[in-house]
């Protein structure tokens, strides 16, 4: 924690605000995951954390290292890219799996599968 002690106060405040805001978004997403009622709704809630929340924390991190060690920690951006690419994959796979199961079990309110010719529907 001594890095924060060496930087100017407003920088430390900025870093704190960024990280805390990010953490708050993750927290909201988690609460949503807990409280929303159907799977298809719940699957969206954590994305709050994996997108904006994550970006805020990342920016905080970059500023932290920039101010503390005097070098731009740009490789942190790589984390952002990776998370951004991988999150939708797991999301889509989860949604597909849920849809597949619901269709097999004949759950109510599920749209019928599209005929193969039209290709994948990106609606979910």
């Amino acid at each position: 924690m001594n890095v924060l002690a060496t930087v100017p106060g407003w920088v430390a405040l900025t870093i704190g605000a960024l990280v805390l805001a990010g953490a708050l978004l993750v927290c909201i997403g988690s609460v949503g995951l807990l409280r929303l009622d159907s799977f298809y709704r719940r699957v969206h809630a954590p994305t709050l954390g994996t997108t904006l929340g994550m970006y805020l924390v990342l920016v905080g991190t970059i500023v932290f290292f920039w101010a503390g060690e005097g070098r731009p920690a740009l490789h942190v951006i790589l984390i952002g890219v990776c998370v951004t690419v991988t999150t939708p994959i797991s999301l889509m796979l989860l949604a597909r799996a849920a849809l597949e199961r619901d269709r097999r079990e004949g759950a109510a309110g599920i749209p019928a599968a599209n005929p193969p010719e039209t290709g994948a529907d990106g609606g979910e």
Partner: protein, 987 residues
């Protein structure tokens, strides 16, 4: 050779002896066969001619090199060449050449050369020569290793190696059940004997305090006086007797005749079975001369000689006659060594050489008959001298030598044997018995030789052979001719031909006690001569009077009812069936759970005993717990407990919770400044989760309507809970004890200080793994390879249990696998996953790049071969998930077993490179190169080793992954249409 040496002037000889690099010659003799054996499959594949040249060339070079050694050992000197092996244990790799060794070197390489030529024409063209000659060369190297060993541990190593090669060669025609059984029997008998020998030489080493043969040979008096003499003697003799097929261990040798005839000629008459004799002679100076030696060795030799000769007389298969005859002659040699007289040793050595020549040629002649007529049964053979005159002549010479006819070498050693038997002085009854048995065995030898040669080559020519016989090819007759010529030459001019050789060999065993003996054809009308005549006449009479009756019998009279082989099989059945059954009745352990419980309880008991009395706890001083860290751990603990509670019905959830605990551990490592461990933990955690997910689908479905719990089941649950809690408490207290145990001066400081100057790396963990403790790592990756191959072997033919065939549909199957389900259109399934699949394909190369990054920076920063290997597997997993196993394997050559092999070889090769450069095994080199553009570039040879680790780890994990992934391909047998559709969808 010997002649040349004696003809040259003494000065010239001394000069030659001084100038020759003898130590390196013996090293070359040992290394050459092994090297060529390894190279033969690479060089000789598909080319019989080249393969033959490799075999005969190697044997020839070894023969020439061995010949060169003779002047240096002709007068009883000993040549030694020593390499450091395990100096800390007092072990040195020593090559030791003396007269006896030299004689065996010549026998092994010389007969190896002749057998190589013979086998080229004998082996049917449809069998690959490469494998045969490769094994034969490997055997030759092992046999040369036995006789060259100057260290008893080394001797036992090569001894067991010959047993292994013998196993592989007997089972060469492995489609035949008889060959497989024979190979197994021979392996069990000789390897068990080898283990006894190991125990025996360890006792010897314990008495003398040295593993060195010369040191042991110098401590004869101390050994014979030791109370441990008898156990050592019995153990060593068990080794010698099993190898040399002495009663009651002789049964493996006749069975081993299922091997191709060149193998019988080489291993089972001329060389390998002589290893036991070699051992007796090698340790004769220290072990012989006592009452137990006389009774055991002499008695067993006598019995073997008689039983072998008697059984040989009543066989009908030509090779069986030769096998029993070999047993009989080996018994004769053993008995000569056992009588304890020095002349007996000379006779034993002499007969070893003679027997090797005439028996090998006899085997090859029988092989020629078999090759030409298609049968070896004496009752179906006859008159072959009309169609195979040259072979017949050679067989007559060899057979006459076997029978001990004058002018041939067999006669001379038999005379010497009679002289020894007459000279024995152990009381009237024993002496008479020895002489009588000697004459009887000699007479039977005459009879079976007559049966063998007369039955096959004489009498009227038959026309009902399976094949039309004619003279075998010239080069097939050549080796038989050479050996027959040797029989004649030794028989007519013994002093001139074998005199110097025999003297050198006998001198090396007996030293100054060398008795006077006279190698001459004619000794005058002596008692041995009379015995020879009696034996010869008796043998001929027995043949003339008894041959019809013998031909009508199926087994040998008197001993036909006993069978050592049946006894052996009964023992084997007891050990492999009855005993385990009994054990299972005592410990009800057919169930895996019970076995597991027993193992765990035993481990717990021993673990508990190990910490008695408990070490005094060290006071925990000033422990400061960060609240965030505590929270993290609460989370981890919650995950672990959640996993445990969910494991019964919600396996998927339990698995995810376990992964959560793993992540907490991972963050803990980061927290405690161990980034290396954190990276490794992260990757291992991911791959474990995926592999478990793949395995999850094969667990049975939940049965919802369970019967109420019976009292027994309730008891089981309570018991299991107690065991589980006990294990948890035990592990926790173990961890607590370890963390509070202050190590006064651990090795870690050394590693921390020396990593950069000594190992050239800043990542201490990696430097320890690939440099300081590279030997440990080598062991670990070997174990990993074994485990991966075992998993593969267990799973690749695995069919899931019936109750999991209709596996849970969505749950359990990894959703990403675009495998076709039978009940829906596969194309739709693939289409639905098109976008995530595409994204995954984009990510895969990034992961691969990351793996490369981890690998390259490993020596200085967190990373290294291990974690890089697992990361590569992650790439593969991701590809399999995105596109399915078929798609990936159609585009990528996934050959994990090769990665494993290549990785192990590379790791070993990088270690051996240091040996070549004169440093200990696995030494790493590091330094800096200054390159034109890049400037200062560090290099480190440990990177090669690390690459080996990388290849093994990635190969091992990929192998397990692939075999699990293929389960899903094999799960259902789809209708032909579905297969075609799937193929189209994926192409």
């Amino acid at each position: 050779m010997g002649i040349a040496a004696s003809a040259a002037g003494p000065e010239a000889l001394a000069w030659i002896v001084r100038m020759m690099p003898y130590g390196w010659i013996s090293t070359a003799i040992l290394l050459l066969p092994f090297t060529v054996a390894l190279a033969t499959p690479l060089i000789g594949r598909g080319n019989r001619r080249r393969t033959t040249w490799l075999m005969t060339g190697t044997a020839g070079v070894c023969l020439v090199l061995a010949t060169l050694l003779f002047p240096a050992i002709a007068d009883g000197e000993v040549l030694r060449q020593t390499f450091a092996w395990a100096p800390g244990l007092g072990l040195e790799f020593t090559l030791r050449v003396d007269g006896l060794t030299w004689l065996f070197l010549i026998l092994v390489s010389g007969i190896g050369l002749l057998v190589g030529i013979y086998a080229t024409y004998y082996m049917p063209p449809e069998y690959p020569l490469v494998r045969f000659f490769s094994l034969l060369l490997g055997f030759m190297g092992a046999m040369l290793g036995i006789v060259l060993s100057g260290n008893v541990i080394q001797l036992v190593f090569f001894w067991e190696l010959t047993s292994l090669f013998s196993f592989l060669l007997i089972g060469y025609w492995h489609h035949g059940k008889s060959a497989r059984d024979a190979a197994r029997t021979a392996l069990i008998v000789t390897v068990t004997g080898g283990l006894c020998l190991l125990a025996g030489v360890l006792v010897l080493a314990h008495i003398t305090g040295s593993y060195d043969v010369d040191a042991i040979l110098a401590a004869g008096g101390r050994i014979r006086a030791s109370p441990l003499y008898l156990p050592a003697l019995v153990l060593i003799l068990l080794g010698a007797f099993t190898k040399s097929a002495q009663v009651p261990f002789h049964f493996w040798l006749p069975q081993a005749m299922s091997a191709p005839t060149p193998v019988s000629a080489y291993l089972h008459s001329a060389t390998m079975v002589k290893a036991g004799v070699f051992l007796l002679l090698r340790f004769w100076p220290v072990l012989a001369g006592t009452e137990p030696w006389f009774w055991i060795v002499g008695g067993v030799g006598l019995a073997t000689m008689l039983v072998g000769a008697w059984a040989a007389t009543f066989q009908h298969d030509m090779k069986a006659i030769l096998a029993y005859s070999t047993i009989s002659h080996l018994g004769l040699i053993t008995m000569l060594a056992g009588l304890g007289s020095t002349l007996g040793v000379v006779a034993a050595i002499f007969h070893t050489v003679n027997h090797a020549t005439f028996k090998a040629s006899m085997f090859m002649a029988v092989g020629a008959v078999d090759h030409e007529t298609g049968t070896r049964d004496l009752r179906r053979l006859g008159g072959l001298r009309h169609v195979m005159p040259i072979t017949a002549t050679l067989a007559v010479i060899a057979g006459a030598a076997m029978a001990g006819v004058p002018l041939l070498n067999g006669f001379l050693s038999k005379e010497m044997f009679f002289a020894v038997a007459l000279g024995a002085n152990h009381g009237l009854v024993l002496d008479t018995l020895t002489v009588l048995v000697a004459v009887a065995a000699a007479a039977l030898g005459v009879t079976y030789s007559l049966r063998l040669v007369g039955g096959a080559f004489f009498g009227p020519l038959r026309h009902d052979y399976p094949r039309e016989p004619h003279e075998p090819p010239r080069w097939m007759r050549f080796p038989i001719g050479i050996l027959a010529l040797a029989c004649l030459a030794v028989g007519i001019f013994p002093a001139w031909v074998v005199g110097p050789l025999l003297r050198a060999a006998a001198l090396s065993v007996l030293g100054p006690q060398l008795p006077p003996y006279n190698l001459a054809l004619w000794h005058g009308l002596t008692m041995p001569m009379l015995m020879s005549v009696i034996a010869f006449v008796a043998g001929c009479v027995l043949y003339v009077l008894g041959r019809r009756r013998i031909a009508a019998r199926d087994d040998a009279p008197l001993i036909g009812w006993t069978s050592a082989l049946h006894g052996f099989e009964r023992v084997l059945a007891f050990l492999t069936t009855t005993l385990p059954d009994l054990q299972q009745r005592v410990f009800p352990s057919r169930k895996l759970q019970v076995q597991l419980l027993l193992v765990v309880l035993l481990a717990g008991v021993f673990g508990f005993l190990a910490v008695q009395p408990p070490p005094a706890p060290v006071a925990m001083h000033g422990m400061h717990v960060d609240p965030a860290f505590a929270l993290l751990w609460l989370l981890g603990i919650a995950c672990a407990i959640g996993a445990a509670t969910q494991a019964k019905f919600q396996r998927m959830a339990a698995l995810i919770l376990t992964a959560g605990t793993g992540l907490v551990v991972c963050i803990t490592f980061v927290w405690l400044s161990a980034p290396d461990l954190a990276v490794t933990q992260l990757v291992v955690e991911s791959i474990t989760t995926v592999l478990l997910l793949l395995g999850l689908r094969w667990l049975p479905k939940r049965i919802r309507e369970l019967a109420p719990l019976s009292p027994v089941a309730r008891y089981h649950r309570v018991r299991d809970a107690v065991v589980a809690i006990g294990i948890g408490v035990g592990l926790a207290s173990l961890a607590y004890a370890v963390m509070n145990h202050l190590v006064a001066d651990s090795a870690s400081r050394f590693y921390l200080e020396q990593a950069l100057p000594g190992g050239g790396g800043r990542n201490v963990v990696n430097v320890i793994l690939v440099d300081f403790r590279a030997m440990d790592t080598l062991g670990e990756i070997t174990v990993l390879s074994v485990v991966a191959l075992t998993v593969f072997a267990l799973l690749w033919r695995f069919r899931p249990a019936a109750e999991s065939i209709g596996a849970p549909r969505a749950r359990g199957s990894t959703p990403g696998q675009a495998e076709p389900h039978t009940d829906r259109d596969p194309r739709a399934w693939a289409d639905q996953l098109a976008i995530p699949g595409f994204l995954i394909l984009l990510i895969a190369p990034v992961i691969a790049l990351f793996a490369l990054h981890l690998f390259l920076r490993g020596h200085d920063l967190p990373g290294g071969g291990f974690v890089a290997g697992i990361s590569v597997t992650m790439t593969l997993i991701v590809l399999y998930m995105a596109a399915g196993a078929r798609w990936v394997e159609a585009r990528l050559k996934v050959a994990p077993a090769r990665w494993i092999g290549a990785g192990l070889l590379l790791a070993i090769a990088s270690g051996l490179a240091a040996v070549v450069l004169g440093d200990p095994f696995l030494t790493a080199y590091h330094g800096h190169w200054t390159l034109p553009v890049l400037g200062d570039v560090p290099y480190n040879s440990a990177l090669l080793f690390d690459f080996g680790v990388f290849a093994v780890v990635s190969g091992a994990s990929a192998l397990m992954l692939v075999v699990l992934a293929h389960q899903s391909l094999r799960r259902v047998v789809p209708a032909p249409d579905a297969v075609r559709d799937a193929g189209e969808a994926e192409s």
